[in-house]
Symmetry: C2
Subunit: 314 residues, 2 copies
Amino acid sequence: MAEAVRPTLESLGEIAVLARIFPRLPESDAALLGPGDDAALLAAPDGRFVVTTDMLVHGPDFRWEFSEPEDLGWKAAATNLSDVAAMGATPTALVVALAAPAATPADVLEQFADGLRLACAELAPGCGVVGGDLSTSDVFTVAVTAFGDLEDRAPVRRDGARIGDVLAVAGELGVASRGLRMLFEHGRDEALRRDAHAVGRQLRPVPPIALGVAAAEAGATAMMDLSDGLVLDARRLAQASHVDLELDALSDDELRGGEDHSLLATFPSGAPMPEGFRPIGSVVAGNGRVLVAGAPFEELGGWDPYEQWDGKLS
Amino acid sequence: MAEAVRPTLESLGEIAVLARIFPRLPESDAALLGPGDDAALLAAPDGRFVVTTDMLVHGPDFRWEFSEPEDLGWKAAATNLSDVAAMGATPTALVVALAAPAATPADVLEQFADGLRLACAELAPGCGVVGGDLSTSDVFTVAVTAFGDLEDRAPVRRDGARIGDVLAVAGELGVASRGLRMLFEHGRDEALRRDAHAVGRQLRPVPPIALGVAAAEAGATAMMDLSDGLVLDARRLAQASHVDLELDALSDDELRGGEDHSLLATFPSGAPMPEGFRPIGSVVAGNGRVLVAGAPFEELGGWDPYEQWDGKLS
């Protein structure tokens, strides 16, 4: 019976749905002109802006049996904020394109908007939603594009690691993937009972956004967001920088687990590292390999392009 | 048999697919750092940037029985470029998030990339793709986010129309919707034989991008992209500006047809209008109505929120 009183996207129509969503969206301090026109206008104080985009698709990227709509909004914001932070930038704004089945209850989108707002408030205060697009699709799909401000600093790229640098990480390793395993094994309720921390991190990642800027200011030579697992992502950094990365002995979960959205960075040896980063290895001569406890880690490492195909262009 | 030799996204894997797509993407003159890192870095010379996003979903927004992949790439670029132009800005770059079934032949994405490149070259030279995301979904879905540069000008909003202004349009009216009707009635091949122009405009819209800047420089008081039909969109401009808009006598197709992506603008009476704009009415005292040949046009006008639900936040 409760279902009967939940108005849907198609029963309400566009204008009423937007009227419900708008007040829940976070506002951006960078917005010179927000939603409501053909396009938004954003401030880019140093004459440049960082931009990244990421799509979450029901099925491969999230499932309603595990995620509440608020979780999804949080995750859609957090994963993009993390890519901005990994350049050494402060997130300023998001645009959100969303396609949902016409029979979706409108409160699902309200809670999704709540998740966007909570994530921005917690992870990147001042960052907000400046525009978007709502469409219909049989598959619930969210595409977030995020912007950031480098405040006159150079971007911290993947290709700057130098031999002798310290390899460091900020944030957890292998926790989000443990949470996903729990969800698949036990379902949401039981998984939360057994390991609320790991499941929480899978559903609502907490990337260390402010440490991106801190790392840049501390002179990080390279940095990236850890989304596909430490070994796989570290190999990308090693290849871009034309070096090898030697990792300390770590557990299999720490080496392979994806979706933590921690920050991997390299710092000049001897330079003070921002609080929140811990050393996990070092940069050595080589050409794109990852060594674990001295031996090359040849496997792909936690990521299967056929099962978890998710090609990022940026 | 030909199908057997078309490698798919899942048979090739991410890296090989991206290697095929990358060389086909248009480059952006504004890119300070392009694809390949956590995020791109773009120039915003006047310290601001225009941003808009739009999603195209297989089914409601396009169909493979009508559109070739190259058509889709073109349309995904063109519709977003048009929203940038409608602010009076020059398009600088796009990011593209795309989700496709894993069994999609990789050449579909190559041709999609060709469409993006051709549209940028034709409509907005210097604009290119600086980043993106590839995902899997049962429903082919594209989300494009576009950026533009106002070159120190004020944005041309929807809310600036003043009583006495001339209402003008650049581009065609009612042609794209005639093309869509032909496609539904006759299928692609026969529709193209009967009305190649209208079908072509439906599949590959040709918004007058450069006229957005021209209108801004000529002192346009308000402007918007015509995506949902003249009457419906004109009503939005009238409501935002707290005026009525009096349209000349026009055909039903011209009044209701959507997806032309022409520009609707208001200019001060007596001011010279950029070549390419033609007057179609005037701004009169009122509060958000559209009058056609003197009588209020009360119907919704060419757009049904239940059948064509497509709520835009910006």
